[in-house]
């Protein structure tokens, strides 16, 4: 857009993160850095050390008498409702009164003069339990007759049973996919400052300030208008702070209101990891029919998830697994069911992709099954099954939404070419044929990801813009900043709208005082929703300015336009500052609240039909790995990525999202393993035991490109596409490449059926299994 060239920081420009300079200096303020008022107290949670038990008694006398302790909060101290369940299911008490349902469950909170004193005292509770049997994983929990945490979903299309009767090939098998801890570098934290009457202000690190506000009000038994929740920035979120901060906010607020002093709660990393939810692990049973060409004829899949002790967000997470169990492939006949299984573990929650990755990886496993059964290159099978173009009868998803914006063919073709896939695959096959200890694998995997909250009412957003009479602009919106650069992008939209330099716009903390009833910054929707809401606010102010300009100069409104840092009125060009001052003096309203709701979407869950997604984002990655068949150790030698973000609002930030998501997705499928002992205790609960990727784990060669030709066919903000989650699934190419390297030991005649995460141990054990079956 030529007319932007002189506005610094408008849309489609590479602009650095607005906090980058503060961040590199350690001056960016996180919740724990906020100066504490005199008398601030510190809370810490006392947790269960059993997985499942009836609580017979809880003796807290030693806790109360420990040095520095001011008070102890239990369920009895809750004036409102003892519940923080995010979906209104009323199944998640702040503190339990009857039963412990997982190892590490918060039972009470100690409030003390220092965090250290609170933490030490929290260890001193004497619990009296009747131990009950526990089940940790979805299979044993199902066998033990434990209930589902929420209603399952069924998606069905075509004549599945009939189709299986006529398939040329049929494979039935199972895949286990592990969970994942968010391992945001900044853990959970909430800091409550009491005010007069019922008021309380809570500073915290949540992706969902409105929900935290409503939960605090609910627990305190006060109206929402008494509670303010503020978030300047998070040190990472990834979904882990969508609902999980509710408990910490509630505890801090309870303490602050009860004692009339500021109360901060910050669990240590171990408690953060044991007491808050993670990505759901899944056990997927699939039944697959296909023809001699490798075309899928029928699919039946059951997706059982480890949901933990409450529903939390498990309903929509397991729904999204089904929505993505097709990935980019057309299934002529399909039946998919979810099993959101209750287990005696921490309640699992949102995590980048929100169940989608577990669906996508099941689709990719089925592709592998076909390839190994027919002796084909998995990429050939992928291409044979891609969704088609309008009119070819291959565009309908299992949830009866038409895929109208399919670009996966072009993406994959371009990547196949730029990554030199065919030649490299051939070289690898030749090298592996020599039978060495080191084996290689290469895989090119696609991703198609649906954008919108499947809870349709979540697809709304608000923004507030003030133009001050000196021409400076104050921007606020309902989205939260967790590193993704949302504030930067939304400010770019506003800079573009007013045709002013980015620096003129002050980015401010997210607060429930300015924009109410916001949705979580989640589902990759942050820029789509808040960018549009901010644009709406800017357009309202601009409209008033245009009217004023036209009237004041006696020209038509068509003769008024916004040029870089100036306003053109007829033949006159006025500096933006001067014009704003003039408008103020003429009593023009220079503030506006903007609003946006996503059009077109609808979803009938009971029928399993609708259009849950406004549009799809696409991408593909190609990874090459080497494995050591003596130890299972591996290296990612090279990864090439081509990803579709539509017409990017900020290409360099989007590229950062793509690279970061890829590495996080790779971590999920390789070294990140959650391990519970037989007592139900999570033993991988800190970075010493839970291993996320390091710099040395990233591919030795790493080429990331955005599909610069892409433009969203829907009317999204500046024709961009969401970027947060879709590239997470690009990490699957690493997993599939490992699988190919393993398959080489059996000459690719057998699908390795590698489970995730593919730790060195799982890789070696798969190698051994395949060797033994030869």
């Amino acid at each position: 857009m030529k007319d932007n060239t002189t506005v610094q920081g408008a849309v489609h420009q590479d602009l650095k993160h607005d906090s980058a300079i503060k961040q590199v200096q350690g001056r960016a303020e996180y919740t724990d850095d906020i100066a504490e008022p005199a008398g601030t107290l510190h809370a810490y949670l006392g947790a269960s050390n059993v997985a499942h038990a009836k609580i017979r008694g809880m003796d807290l006398s030693r806790v109360r008498s420990a040095p520095g302790v001011v008070d102890v909060l239990t369920a009895d101290d809750i004036p409102g409702v003892n519940d923080v369940s995010p979906t209104g299911k009323h199944d998640e008490p702040v503190f339990p009164t009857e039963k412990v349902e997982f190892h590490g469950q918060p039972l009470f909170a100690v409030i003390a003069e220092t965090r250290d004193a609170a933490r030490r005292a929290a260890e001193l509770a004497e619990m009296d339990y009747d131990i009950l049997p526990h089940a940790l994983d979805p299979v044993s929990a199902h066998e033990a007759g434990m209930p589902l945490v929420t209603d399952p979903l069924k998606l069905e299309r075509g004549d599945v049973d009939g189709a299986f009767g006529g398939v040329a090939h049929r494979i039935q098998a199972q895949m286990t996919v592990g969970g994942q801890d968010h391992m945001y570098l900044e853990g959970h934290i909430a800091f409550a400052i009491p005010g007069e009457d019922d008021d309380v202000i809570v500073h915290c690190s949540t992706q969902h300030p409105s929900e935290a506000q409503h939960m605090v009000a609910h627990v305190l038994g006060v109206p929402s208008n008494a509670v303010v929740v503020n978030v300047r920035r998070m040190g990472g979120g990834f979904g882990g702070k969508e609902s999980q901060m509710n408990l910490f906010c509630a505890v801090a607020a309870l303490g602050a209101k009860k004692l009339g002093r500021a109360v901060k709660i910050r669990p240590d990393r171990d408690q953060d990891m044991t007491a808050t939810g993670k990505r759901h692990d899944f056990v997927i049973d699939y039944d697959l029919g296909f023809d001699d060409e490798g075309r899928i004829q029928a699919v039946e899949g059951q997706f059982a998830a480890r949901c933990g002790w409450t529903s939390d967000l498990s309903g929509p997470v397991t729904d999204r697994a089904l929505f993505h169990a097709d990935n980019a492939y057309y299934y002529p006949n399909v039946r998919l069911t979810s099993r959101p299984q209750k287990t005696n573990t921490v309640s699992n929650t949102a995590f980048r992709g929100f169940g989608g990755p577990q669906g996508v990886i099941a689709a990719e496993r089925m592709i592998e099954e076909i390839a190994y059964a027919l002796g084909k290159d998995p990429l050939e099978v992928r291409k044979a099954n891609f969704y088609g173009e309008a009119g070819d009868g291959r565009t309908l998803t299992p949830y009866h939404q038409e895929v109208e914006d399919n670009v996966i063919g072009r993406i994959v073709e371009e990547l196949e070419d730029s990554a030199d896939y065919q030649a490299r695959r051939k070289a690898i096959l030749d090298e592996n044929a020599k039978g060495g200890i080191i084996r290689r694998g290469i895989a090119l995997t696609p991703v198609k990801f649906g954008i919108s909250f499947t809870a349709t009412w979540y697809n709304q957003a608000g923004a507030l813009i003030h133009v001050y009479n000196d021409g400076s602009i104050h921007l606020n919106h309902g989205g939260t900043e967790m590193g993704q650069g949302l504030n930067t992008k939304v400010a770019q939209v506003v800079a573009e709208a007013f045709q002013v330099d980015f620096d003129r716009i002050k980015i401010t903390k997210t607060t429930t005082e300015k924009v109410p009833n916001t949705s979580a910054t989640a589902a990759s929707s942050g820029s789509d929703l808040n960018g549009m809401a901010a644009l709406d606010a800017a357009e309202q102010i601009k409209e008033r300015l245009v009217t004023f300009a036209a009237e004041s100069r006696g020209v038509s409104e068509d003769a008024v336009s916004f040029a870089p840092n100036r306003v053109v009125i007829g033949d006159e060009s006025v500096a933006f500052d001067a014009f704003i001052k003039e408008a103020y003096m003429a009593r023009v309203h220079l503030s506006a609240a903007g609003f946006y709701k996503t059009p077109k979407i609808h979803w009938d869950r009971a029928a399993g039909k609708g259009r849950p997604f406004y549009y799809y984002a696409y991408g593909a990655s190609c990874s090459e790995v080497a494995i050591d068949t003596l130890t299972g150790e591996y290296r990612v030698e090279r990864t090439d990525i081509l990803h579709d973000v539509g017409k990017s609002l900020n290409p360099i930030l989007d590229k950062g999202q793509v690279e970061g998501a890829f590495i996080q997705g790779m971590g999920w499928l390789t070294t990140e393993e959650l391990w519970w002992d037989d007592k139900g205790a999570l033993r991988t609960h800190a970075p010493s035991t839970y291993k996320i990727p390091l710099a040395s784990d990233r591919p030795r060669i790493f080429n990331t490109n955005l599909a610069d030709w892409s433009e969203n066919r829907e009317m999204t903000i500046k024709r961009s596409k969401a970027v947060g989650e879709p590239p997470f699934m690009l990490g699957i190419s690493v997993f599939e490449a490992l699988s190919m390297a393993v398959a080489s030991v059996a000459d690719y005649r057998e699908c390795p059926r590698l489970d995730a995460p593919a730790t060195p141990e799982r890789v070696l054990m798969a190698v051994e299994r395949l060797k033994a079956s030869q």
Binding site: L185, D628, E633, G656, L694, S696
Partner: protein, 487 residues
């Protein structure tokens, strides 16, 4: 005799005195809570994420050295006479960004920004030491720094570009070196330092002789060198450890002596300080050494501490045992020396008598025909605790195996040699048959545990395969790669 009862150091530009601090006050809590220097972050409180990384400058033989450390597990009392440099000290006058900071901004190295100060400090230390690093050197420098947002690519690119923004020659820590050295020299204590209340007492002996005296009167004291393990006893387990005797400042324990027969390493020598000598004397340990923890921990942790600690999954015991290393224990009554393998009696139990402290480790150099190897198997390549670690030392004379020492960590309650596997080798002709027999014999040597790092089955299998790998690596009949390339 009245001891100094305060801790004195330079904090960024300022001389600072803390009166009578308790032993377990961590540097990070001191910085964040007491000094309100909130740029350094707590991400894990166990030295694994690097968000708290700061530099510590210390005089060694009169010369000033700066190293990264994890402030979360470093005790303030151990930093008497040091220069603590935090992220707040980097920007120039008028808020001008430091070259490392500017590179991180320009290459988009921060997203959420919480890990960023720690990365900046690690890259700062790297740039001072190696202004124009290779990508691999960058990766090694940030092994101890986790980032969950960026995927590291922009951080590595920033690190490779730092020198284009400025040279360490012009850095203020370089320019002020003489001044800082003089100020630190003036801060060195005259004698023993003792601070803190009785139940959280810190003692900094003035010399090794003084250390022996302190331990004689406090035989149950916790000896702390790098605090890379003991730090967690405090931050994770809240275990009382008083009195704490800090030894990392004792230069007498920092001797490294290489002669024709052996390399002798003082108990206070860190992994980083010993790196060069280890590479020279034992090239097979070069790659292994880089995989011990992360850089910050290697700057803090000591080989003496790794041995004294007696963990079955320590990195150095298996390779030391394989090399036939000896440990010298000292107390006020004198010294005694024993093979490292005999030092480990049982899980959590070492042959350390009341008042004993580890003085040094002596590692004999290879003799003719001796082939050495060291292997570490872990879930993640870098900065991970091994599921299995192995040190092998096999001697062949005219094609016959005459001696074999195969030591493993992670396979039993202590680091231990595989007697049956060794027996299967000794006296046999060098070749696949002997090593296969040794690999098979391993199941008689060990009954490992299943835990979160690995299953028993994997441990046994991979340990046996390491014996097979050792043979293949030294098999001259083929040049097919048997290990993954490092870079």
């Amino acid at each position: 005799m009245a001891h100094q009862d305060e801790i004195r150091f330079l904090l960024n530009g300022k001389e600072t005195t803390v009166a009578n601090p308790k032993a377990t006050l961590t540097l990070l809590d001191y910085l964040r809570i007491e000094q309100r220097l909130t740029g350094s972050k707590e991400g894990c409180a166990e030295g694994d994420c690097g968000a708290c990384t700061v530099l510590v400058g210390r005089l060694r033989n009169g010369a000033l050295h700066y190293e990264t450390v994890n402030a979360c597990i470093r005790f303030l009392a151990s930093l008497n006479g040091c220069h603590i440099v935090t992220i707040e000290h980097l920007s120039g006058p008028n808020g001008r960004l430091h070259p490392v900071q500017q590179a991180m901004v320009d290459y988009h190295g921060s997203q959420c920004g919480f890990c960023t100060p720690g990365f900046v400090m690690s890259l700062y230390a790297l740039w001072m030491q190696t202004p124009m690093p290779s990508a691999q050197q960058v990766e090694t420098a940030v092994q101890g720094n986790l980032c969950r947002c960026t995927g590291y690519e922009p951080i590595v690119k920033a690190a490779l570009a730092v020198n284009e923004y400025g040279s360490p020659v012009n850095d203020h820590l370089t320019q002020e070196r003489a001044d800082i050295t003089a100020r630190l020299t003036a801060l060195q204590p005259e004698g023993r330092v003792e601070t803190g209340p009785e139940d959280d007492r810190a003692i900094l002996p003035h010399s090794v002789a003084d250390l022996a005296e302190v331990l004689a009167s406090h035989p149950k004291a916790t000896i702390v060198a790098g605090a890379t393990d003991v730090g967690l006893w405090v931050t994770k387990f809240m275990r009382p450890i008083s009195p704490v005797v800090f030894i990392n400042h004792l230069e007498e324990l920092k001797a490294i002596t290489l002669d024709d027969d052996a390399l002798t390493i003082g108990a206070g020598v860190t992994y980083s300080e010993s790196e060069e000598a280890i590479r020279d004397a034992f090239p097979h340990l070069s790659e292994y050494w880089d995989r011990i923890a992360g850089w910050q921990v290697r700057n803090m942790g000591t080989i003496g501490g790794n041995v004294a600690n007696g963990s079955p999954i320590g990195d150095t015991p298996p390779v030391l045992i394989a090399l036939g290393a000896e440990v010298t224990l000292q107390k006020s009554g004198g010294t005694r020396t024993l093979p490292v393998e005999d030092f480990f009696i049982d899980y959590g139990k070492q042959d350390r008598e009341a008042g004993d402290f580890v003085a040094c480790i002596r590692i004999p150099r290879a003799t003719a025909g001796q082939i050495d190897a060291a292997y570490k198997i872990s879930k993640r390549r870098d900065e991970d605790i091994s599921s299995v670690a192995a040190g092998f030392s096999v001697t062949q004379v005219d094609g016959t195996i005459t001696a074999a020492r195969l030591a493993f960590g992670g396979m039993a309650a202590t680091p231990k040699r595989a007697a049956n596997a060794e027996a299967a080798l000794i006296g046999q002709p060098w070749g696949a048959q002997a090593f296969e027999a040794a690999a098979q014999a391993l199941s008689q040597d060990f009954t490992p545990l299943t835990d979160w790092r690995a299953s028993a089955d994997y441990r046994i299998l991979v340990a046996a395969n390491l014996i097979r790998r050792f043979h293949l690596e030294h098999d001259t009949t083929t040049d097919a790669p048997v290990r993954l390339a490092i870079a």
